[in-house]
């Protein structure tokens, strides 16, 4: 099967941990500009799929192609440099640095030792950090150490750190987990804003939130795709109801 039209194509991907197949024979295709939501019960392999794409876990078999390049076996930072950004489930930010410094470190330049040693903080970089901070509702917190942010603000900061990298594919693992209702609404706004120029994969449990953002939904169950389609057809699917929604 040709994968030329897809931004990301996973074909027959399997991975097992000590004999346990966390993901088996998975096929998943993401178009350019698509927002895909992956749902599924606990242990369905959702996070593992993201780990496989971003190189954190190595595939046992199968192929993962990004822009028609095989990326299995590449190092994490190489995959990032190709244009894949990843947000972790728990906010993963640099607590000891300020919000500004967190964002500055994510600017995709000066990424080697020499570049970092002689890095100059130009107006242009300060501007782009400010712009991103405005987008993620943190423009008044730039000088604050990141550890003093609220949980929701930390989630936004991590999303901001990915935005400033300007990836073509953004992967978000439960971006609204632990957020208050008003924070969820703001996050949905933010996501609708940032998906404009890129493809996004979101893992989410919150069904209301999924409805508010999803184009297409993939349901995973025991490491396999159970159903795929728009939100309504997936919700109507009896198999999905059985394992997940109608419990």
């Amino acid at each position: 099967m040709s994968s030329t039209d897809f931004l990301l194509a996973l074909e027959n991907v399997s991975v097992s941990f000590d004999g346990f197949k966390a993901v088996s024979d998975l096929n998943l295709y993401i178009d350019k500009g698509e927002l895909r939501v992956i749902i599924g019960p606990n242990g369905a392999g959702k996070t593992t799929v993201l780990d496989l794409i971003c190189g954190r876990t190595k595939v046992s078999s199968g192929s993962i192609k990004f822009k028609d390049q095989e990326i299995t076996g590449r190092k994490e930072q190489e995959i990032v440099r190709l244009g894949i950004g990843r947000k972790f489930q728990t906010p993963t930010i640099y607590e000891d640095l300020t919000v500004f410094e967190n964002l500055e470190l994510s600017v995709p330049r000066g990424r080697d030792v020499v570049g970092a040693l002689f890095w100059k903080r130009t107006e242009q970089i300060v501007e782009s950090v400010r712009d991103t901070a405005r987008m993620i509702f943190l423009e008044n917190h730039l000088d604050q150490p990141a550890e003093t942010l609220s949980h929701g603000q930390k989630q936004w900061l991590e999303i901001g750190m990915l935005l400033i990298q300007d990836p073509e594919l953004l992967m978000l693992d439960e971006p609204v987990a632990g957020m208050s209702v008003s924070e969820r609404v703001k996050t949905a706004e933010l996501l609708n804003e940032i998906i404009k120029n890129r493809s996004v994969i979101v893992i989410e449990h919150d069904m209301k939130f999924v409805e508010s953002i999803a184009h297409r939904v993939t349901v995973l169950h025991q490491g396999k795709v159970l159903a795929e389609g728009d939100m309504h057809s997936v919700q109507a699917n009896p198999k999905v109801k059985e394992v997940y929604l109608g419990h």
Partner: protein, 376 residues
């Protein structure tokens, strides 16, 4: 520019000026040359301590084998000085004149090939830096590329320290064995044993140390310094921001090794010998304690910690030699439990906020004082 003019940072500058004034002016005026030479010896350990600030304090890489790099630097310097002291004229009573005395005692009849280039000072000086850096590079590349870190890395560095000691002691004919390389006399004909030479070397040591501190300051203040903190915090995030984490860890470990090695060379010059007792596990751990007591996040703190612990060691072991090890162990535990950020942390977190609070009260304008320094 958007940067926090953090109080910790300005405290560091004040501290740097103070420490420079103390070691360059106060101590030379107050102490006789014997004591000053001792201080000079302590300051050579401070090189290791500031290296540890970079790799342990900032990057979170605990190395229990920094003595290896200190020792390699010291040995490279000692090899040059030993060859100069072993001229044919000086060694004519040996069965093979012109080679170091310990080689002659071990029935070695010609200079081993790896000693030959150490006849030249430029080579020796380059080797002082490069030999430890190459060793550090091989070790750290092998470990960090495989993502070995934390406790495992600490254990491996400790093993390296043990291996190094055994190697030096075992290869007596080539290394001088347990006695080390002793009886060093002149540097390009200049007698390093005179009081005047000791003064000169003391000041060279001070300026080199201050220079290294400024260099470390630059590294810490650069974006690379922030990446190091980020690696300590969330290594995965750094990787997923597109950085090759291992290259940064290798760089900082090699830099720390180079700085330690300069300290080792200064040690050899000032003390006049080098021996395996400065290479092994115990000195390596002592150096970590110096750094922890002073504060592993502060360059100035590390230097102060080194001076204080060593001063205490000398004072203590002059009167109660057998108690010193217990005292130092107790000190380390106390630091870890009571003030994990060391003396420097005590100053920036407690004393400065207290002082500025006091000043605020006196002026009757409590709120004008900036808030206490955030954790650096």
């Amino acid at each position: 520019m958007l940067n926090i003019p953090s109080k910790a940072r300005s405290a560091e500058i004040v501290g740097f000026v103070l420490i420079a004034a103390i070691i360059l002016i106060l101590l030379p005026l107050a102490l006789d040359i014997f004591r000053l030479n001792l201080i000079g010896k302590y300051l050579t350990y401070a090189f290791v301590a500031i290296g540890l600030v970079l790799c342990w304090g900032y990057t979170g890489i605990l190395s229990l084998g920094q003595g290896v790099f200190f020792g390699l630097g010291g040995y490279c310097m000692a090899m040059f000085l030993k060859l100069e002291a072993s001229s044919v004229a000086n060694t004519k009573i040996q069965s093979t004149p012109g080679i170091p005395d310990f080689m002659d005692w071990n029935q070695i009849t010609s200079l081993p090939f790896f000693w030959v280039p150490f006849k030249f000072l430029p080579f020796a000086l380059i080797a002082v830096i490069m030999v430890p850096v190459i060793a550090a590079f091989i070790l750290s590349a092998a470990m960090f590329k495989r993502r070995v870190g934390g406790v495992y890395f600490a254990i491996i560095t400790q093993a390296l320290a043990a291996v190094m000691t055994i190697l030096i002691v075992g290869q007596q004919g080539y290394t001088g064995g347990i006695n080390g390389i002793t009886d060093l006399r002149t540097l390009l004909g200049w007698d390093i044993r005179t009081d005047f030479a000791k003064y000169v070397l003391y000041f060279v040591c001070c300026f080199t140390l201050l220079g290294c501190m400024l260099m470390c300051r630059y590294v810490i203040a650069s974006k690379l310094g922030r990446i190091l903190v980020a690696v300590r915090d969330k290594e995965d995030r750094v990787r997923f921001s597109g950085y090759d984490v291992s290259s940064f860890k290798i760089f900082i470990f090699c830099l720390a090794a180079a700085i330690s090695a300069i300290g080792g060379a200064m040690f050899t010059l000032q003390v006049g010998f080098m021996s395996p007792s400065f290479v092994g596990i115990v000195p390596s751990i002592e150096m970590v304690i110096f750094c922890a007591v002073g504060g592993r996040h502060s360059l100035v703190g590390a230097v102060v910690g080194t001076l204080l612990v060593n001063w205490a060691k000398t004072a203590f072991s002059e009167s109660f030699p057998e108690l010193w090890l217990f005292a130092m162990g107790g000190l380390f535990i106390a630091v870890v439990l009571a003030f994990p950020r060391g003396l420097a942390g005590l100053v920036t977190d407690q004393i400065i906020p207290w002082l500025s609070g006091l000043r605020g009260k006196n002026k009757g304008v409590g709120n004008h004082q900036p808030s206490p320094a955030p954790a650096e």
